[in-house]
């Protein structure tokens, strides 16, 4: 365990993690997940929000076991490596809002940074605009970081706080398995509390145990290796440190190879799975997401791994993502294969303004 752990914290850790994500994600598609969506933290959070009835977009409702696995895998890794440290108090309200806004941006593009890289590796060239936007958002975040932006310090918290997010994940797993139903309305539609898609992306999923196992493995590896799809770009530019970037490169290369081997590589702009071709808002959506994730200290996957370590602020960021997904699919902010939603562009502009305000005004207070 000790040698393995040291290996994962070395330069090779993110590369191994990226390679495994790049192999598992296309396999999860093969086993039933939606196209180029082996793992997408925002999309899967959106599906969970739908399954809980926070939005009623019938095509995107499912409790994704991958998310549960990512948190619990990181939780186990943190416990074994004595890194389980419950903490909170670093501007939780702002982190909640950043989670919401990052989700607005990512759902205009239709994917988190993980899926942006996976879409690229599947031949979806629309992802290029998204990744360019992501980099632009991260660069803007770096400008704020250089200027002294900070959400302040977190502080040690009671041990029990660190168990809350893992407990929420276990509860979600129970809800997935039990799928309680209160009944049906006059039209015969389920009234909840748990909704599962009968058609559309939400109905496409790998078998529960495979999804859960993949999430657990990735969560374990990523907690040890500090894998982060935002930190990859941020550290390369800000600190001239390519450790995390090499993990993302490994992810893209291995996902490309796995897609080729599985017959899932389909290059082009048109008719890509769960994607649209509006380059401007693919760029804009991910610029918002990139900025919001950078201001929050890491990509949505990293927020889940930190939540598994006991960071309640990261846990709240994820709750913000769920609420953001609820709004995005209730009020026409999320895009669809047909293009952007009626309020998507406005939400991106408003979200960018709010993030810029945070970037300019949040400073660590001198005590």
């Amino acid at each position: 365990m000790h040698f393995f752990s040291r290996f994962l914290t070395s330069r090779w850790g993110p590369i191994i993690t990226g390679l495994i994500v790049g192999i598992l994600a296309p396999l999860l598609v093969k086993f039933g997940n939606p196209g180029n969506m082996g793992i997408c933290v925002v999309c899967f959070g959106r599906d969970i929000a739908g399954a809980l009835g926070l939005h009623r977009a019938g095509a995107v409702q499912y409790i994704r076991p991958e998310i549960i696995g990512l948190v619990l895998g990181a939780f186990v890794a943190a416990l074994l490596s004595r890194e389980f440290k419950p903490r909170t108090g670093s501007a939780p309200l702002v982190r909640f809002l950043l989670g919401m806004l990052a989700t607005f941006g990512a759902l205009v593009f239709l994917g988190c940074p993980w899926r942006a890289y996976l879409r690229l590796a599947g031949g979806d060239w629309n992802a290029i605009f998204g990744i360019l936007g992501l980099v632009a958002g991260i660069v803007l975040g770096i400008v704020f970081l250089r200027g002294g932006y900070s959400l302040g310090r977190s502080h040690p918290a009671p041990k029990a706080l660190g168990w809350v997010m893992p407990a929420i994940m276990v509860t979600l797993l129970a809800l997935l398995i039990l799928a309680p139903q209160f009944g049906r309305d006059a039209e015969g539609k389920p009234i909840g509390p748990i909704f599962f898609s009968a058609t559309g992306p939400g109905s496409q999923h790998a078998p529960l145990l495979i999804s859960l196992a993949a999430g657990l493995l990735i969560g374990f590896l990523a907690q040890r290796s500090r894998f982060c799809t935002i930190g990859a770009v941020r550290d390369a530019i800000l600190l001239r440190d390519s450790r995390l970037l090499s993990g993302v490169v490994a992810l893209i290369v291995s996902a490309f190879a796995a897609n080729l081997a599985l017959g899932q590589f389909h290059p082009g702009f048109e008719n890509q799975p769960i994607a649209h071709t509006d380059g401007l808002w693919n760029f804009g959506g991910m610029a918002l997401a990139g900025l919001a994730f950078t201001l929050a200290g890491g990509c949505p996957g990293r927020q889940l791994f930190l939540a598994g370590e006991g960071d309640a602020d990261s846990g709240l960021f994820f709750v913000g993502m769920l609420v953001g997904a609820g709004f995005a699919h209730t009020y026409g902010i999320a895009s669809s294969a047909a293009g952007t939603g009626p309020w998507g562009p406005l939400a991106v502009i408003a979200g960018l303004l709010v993030c810029v305000l945070f970037g300019l005004t949040m400073r660590e207070s001198e005590v």
Partner: protein, 73 residues
């Protein structure tokens, strides 16, 4: 007499610990810098950055998961 500068990076999100230490090291040029961190990620990032810039890194675990990193050049 203690003229060692200290950077307290406890509780800060990525990439602030590494960023603060880089700024402090550039300002210091050479000498000794103490850094307090409370996460494995910050400990690794600060150590890696300092080593790359030619500083010697000494770790001291003060309590579980809390480290004092001494950087010398």
């Amino acid at each position: 007499m203690n003229d060692t500068t200290t950077v307290d990076a406890r509780g800060l999100s990525c990439p602030q610990p590494a960023l603060l230490v880089r700024q402090a090291l550039q300002k210091l040029g050479k000498g000794s810098l103490e850094v307090l961190v409370d996460s494995g990620t910050a400990r690794e990032n600060v150590s890696r950055l300092a080593k790359k810039a030619g500083w010697t890194v000494t770790l001291e675990e003060q309590s579980e998961g809390n480290f004092k990193i001494t950087l010398d050049k």
